[in-house]
């Protein structure tokens, strides 16, 4: 389904945008924004925005 690799074997996490509810799934990534599948939340650049409403990364909380 995805090309995500999970070398740490830690469960994939999801983070939801506070303002529009969009969910970032670590396994799926956000390829349209240049974030590859399998990218852990901590590794997403701080200037990344919600692809739906452009809210900042800091506006997301773990689901």
């Amino acid at each position: 389904m995805t090309d995500a690799t999970n070398p740490s074997d830690q469960p994939w996490r999801q983070f939801a945008c506070m303002f529009c509810g969009h969910v970032y799934d670590e396994e799926a990534g956000d390829p349209d924004s240049g974030i590859a599948p399998g990218t852990r939340w901590e590794d997403i650049p701080e200037d990344w925005c919600c692809p739906l409403c452009s809210a900042e990364k800091a506006s997301f909380t773990e689901v």
């Binding site: 939801a16 945008c17 506070m18 303002f19 529009c20 509810g21 969009h22 969910v23 925005c49 739906l52 409403c53 452009s54 809210a55 900042e56 909380t61």
Partner: protein
Amino acid sequence: MTRSTVDLAQKDRGVLFDADEEARAAGWGTADPYVHLQKLYDGPPVVKGALEDLMGIPRQYPTDLWPGEVYSILSFDAVNKAFMDRETFSNRVYEKLSKPAMGDTLLNLDGGEHKRLRDVAKPWFKPSFTDGWWTDKWIVDAVDEIFDRLTAKDHADLNLELCAPLPMSVVSTGFGIPAAEALEFRKALLMHGTPEEMAKGHAHATTVLTGLMDERRAVPGDDLISRFVHADIEQEDGTTRKLSPAEVMRYCFLIIHAGGGTTWRQMGITIMTLLNHPDQMAALRADRGLMRQAIQEVTRWYPTDTAFLRYVEKDTVLEGVAMKAGSIAMLCLGSANHDRKQWDDPDTFNIHRAVKRHFAFGAGAHACLGQHLSRQEMEVALGALLDRLGDLRWDPDFPPAKMGGGTLIGRGPDALHVRYTPLPK
């Protein structure tokens, strides 16, 4: 001197800046929604039947335009699922609600077509742009001008003298429409009155925008019309083209219409709520770090729009209730924002509670494009209100402010008569 804003007078109130008059003009009832939603809070999350019927109020949304069943979506989880699943719960309802008057806009489009059109304007409404360009270029000057007028005296109707002119002025001038023309433009846009008056108004708005578009195409300025006429839109095959004049026009109509109305009412709700909770207003005045969560809390507690519609595209089951394709789902933001499973004591206004996601600005692909701008305007305006209007209190010479507007659409206070001690900037 009025340069950035429209200076409104009581004669301008009419149907443009009076939530109850706006509701009556649309044929809506004005009962308070939360009185009638109470009885639904402990019931099922999804119920067959129109929301108005369940609440025991006159019908407001024209759900009988569609032949299918109507379902009311009431809980936080159910509303969230519906908002986030746009393939099942689409915006096709707006084909009948908004398209006849406004043409194809973000409201009625879905899927790739919606995303490609929304992507054009998305950069101009993201937080870094609203906190930067919009604030520095438009909001601060407008707020300063309004508060210079307010602090020349010691009493005002903040509905008419702050809440109404600020968002209308900001969004109009941000587009490139001079403040002096913003009121006439808005009157033309809102299309109230006889069919002849509406046609004349639409023609006037079209003429103004067409002229501005031609000017900016030739000589771009630092405004949204310039950005729109020079923007690229991606097509389905991946190539790009410019927006057509008609597409720019429709985008302008939508943003100026939406941006001037909803923030006006929500700002009024915010000020009314704070004045009715003086201890919390004092806490906010003392600690501006509470500002963002205060605005989040008031929009949760009392959003200006209580419910939105969606069209059910395929047979589905939501929280155990089966719905056939062709049904209408009424997503109740009001009940979802007061879901007892999500918030402790949700009927109480409390700016100190932990911030949590809610649905005042919708959710999903159709979440309000202008929500960050709306919150930014409210934040700057509230900051100035707390800084410049000392000892702010209700004016005893007027009846208490009353929340009005359509029960499901367009809630807002009738007037906000206050007294204060003007403070220097």
